[in-house]
């Protein structure tokens, strides 16, 4: 359904994304992991249309959307959340979500109804009349999700929705993501919380220095020496294996 082919993006002398390719099939939850600065968020921005790639193409449901601006991609069904949450601080929670709902429902009452339904799915129904600036970090993450969901997307790009949450909040939100997928929304998520990646993702891609260095089932990928070295430095995989042998 989503097909990212050989995408690169250069910022001056920095090659932030370097020939990355990935595919996401309908109904999947796919993870995108990698060390800080690997280019994950940049790749998300390219897929959602906020940054144009220097090279490569993005196809969505068979159509080339590489040149389409962000708002048109949202209309096609690509929704994203932001790593640094971006609430409309001066608006109420209801009005925040309604902006998303207005995309498919031009009439006010329809949009409000859909916004309130999205709020219920994320457990925000008691906060509807509060300004978004009153929400806690966890609340803002939920708002970010609810707003994206209100656009009724086909694929949802989640950029570290679990970052900054405490363990119990993480436990609360993992099932929500699964329910969203079961409701027919394909999910591509950037995540550092491995507990979530392991329990949610069917496949993961590992990005390092802008390149996809590994792909596959989470358990295999985590054992991949290339991946361990990308996180822990050159030679780390060998030392860990040596440690295991010595320990045994």
């Amino acid at each position: 359904m989503l097909d990212v082919a050989d995408v690169s993006r250069r910022f001056g002398g920095l090659l932030a994304v370097d020939g990355a390719s990935l595919t996401v099939a309908e109904g999947e939850i796919v993870g995108l992991i990698g060390p800080n600065g690997a280019g994950k968020t940049t790749l998300f921005a390219i897929i959602s249309g906020f940054i144009a790639p220097s090279k490569g193409s993005i196809r969505f449901e068979g159509r080339d959307v590489t040149r389409e601006p962000a708002h048109l991609r949202a209309r096609q069904g690509i929704a994203r959340t932001f790593q640094v949450v971006q609430p409309f601080a001066g608006l109420t929670v209801r009005d925040n979500i309604a902006v998303g709902a207005y995309l498919r429902h031009p009439r006010r009452q329809d949009a409000i109804n859909h916004a309130e339904a999205a709020a219920r799915r994320l457990g925000l129904e008691t906060m509807l009349d509060r300004p978004a600036s009153d929400l806690t970090v966890a609340g803002r993450k939920r708002l970010e999700l609810a707003r994206a969901l209100a656009t009724e997307p086909k694929v949802l790009l989640l950029d570290e929705v679990l970052a900054g949450l405490n363990p119990s909040e993480i436990r609360d939100i993992i099932p929500v993501i699964r329910v969203i997928r079961d409701g027919g929304v394909t999910v591509l998520m950037i995540e550092h919380v491995m507990q979530a990646v392991m329990s949610l993702c069917e496949r993961v891609y590992v990005l390092a220095h802008g390149r996809v260095i590994a792909a596959g089932v989470p358990r295999d990928v985590c054992a991949d020496p290339l991946v361990i070295e990308a996180y822990l430095g050159h030679g780390a995989a060998g030392r860990i294996r040596a440690g295991e042998v010595a320990g045994a």
Partner: protein, 322 residues
């Protein structure tokens, strides 16, 4: 749209509509017509600045275009006054759209946008002041021919009511925008343009729509000015006074609120006249007061008069519940 949204503005308009029966004083009606013209200009500013968050410092560009188009079409083209006004409003909208395309495509925001709008207004002022076609520095004088056909009335009250209808129509339009999709998207763009785009909002199109509508409303104020005073020159039509009064009335009255600009214009000019009465002949004493009010509004009541009243009511309601 519920009755609750419409009640306060309807009450305000109803009260103002009764004034000509309460007084026949020309000074009073003159004062109120001026207030309504400023209120209309401020309503235009508020749509773009208050609801859209794009602070213009050059709404004179639209006011002046409306005023000059109305006058020139009649004097040079022999067009009927009413039709000239309609064309003037459209011309203001076009100027707004053009400035919007240039400024928003270049991604200008905040002070940069404000400065560019100011520059456009100043360029138009200097050009109209120099060109013979627009009457140069001597300005334009419309022929006095008091007939309703010519948008000229023997009674000031009639003109006052027409201006009031314009303000009422824009109040209604503002309520409709605030309660609809366009208003939600405009607020989203004001609060966070990136997030709005991620939710499928075409930020550029929304801002262009807002500036075009805003400009047309302020241009309507310019048309009314021409028809009421039957005289204008570049410093009146394109002068920075109207840019300042438009934003001042909206900010003091309540930025981003439906009735704010009208209440702001009434308050500012009411207090202005009062101080002139007290202070006598000191030139510009009302402007000193305007400055103080702006400082007070930004410092103590950033939501203006309407916003502060609303907050008071919320506090009292929640206090009573306890």
């Amino acid at each position: 749209m519920t009755g609750r949204d419409l009640l306060p503005p309807a009450l305000l308009i109803g009260l103002l509509a009764l004034v000509p029966w309460a007084t026949s004083s020309n000074t009073m009606l003159n004062f109120l017509v001026t207030v309504l013209i400023v209120a209309l200009a401020a309503q235009g500013w508020n749509l773009l600045g208050g609801f859209g968050g794009q602070f213009s410092f050059g709404h004179a560009a639209f006011f002046g275009t409306g005023a000059y188009a109305t006058a020139l079409l009649q004097i040079r083209g022999g067009v009927n006054a009413w039709i000239a006004c309609l064309i003037g409003i459209a011309a203001g909208g076009v100027v707004g759209w053009v400035i919007g395309v240039l400024a928003f495509r270049a991604r200008l925001r905040g002070s940069y946008f404000a400065l560019v709008t100011l520059a456009f207004a100043e360029v138009l002022r200097i050009l109209t002041n120099a060109a013979d076609f627009t009457g140069g520095a001597a300005g334009l004088l419309l022929r006095l021919d008091v007939r309703p056909m010519n948008f000229q009335f023997a009674s000031r009250a009639v003109f006052y009511w027409i201006a009031l209808v314009c303000v009422a129509v824009v109040l209604l339009l503002t309520v409709m925008i605030e309660r609809g999709r366009f208003g939600a998207q405009l607020a989203a763009v004001r609060e966070n343009e990136e997030a709005a785009r991620a939710l499928g909002v075409d930020a550029l199109a929304v801002k262009l729509r807002a500036i075009t509508l805003s400009a047309a409303i302020t241009a309507a104020a310019g048309c009314l000015y021409t028809q009421y005073f039957l005289y204008l020159d570049a410093n009146i039509a394109y002068g920075s006074w109207i840019s300042i009064e438009a934003l001042l009335a909206a900010i003091v009255g309540g930025i981003g609120t439906v009735a704010g600009p009208v209440i702001g214009a009434l308050t500012l000019h009411g207090l202005g006249e009062l101080t002139k009465g007290f202070a006598g002949d000191i030139t510009g004493v009302d402007l000193v007061l305007f400055g103080l009010l702006l400082v007070a509004a930004i410092g103590f009541a950033p939501l203006g008069i309407v916003g502060s009243l609303r907050r008071l009511r919320v506090v009292r309601l929640s206090g009573g519940a306890r």
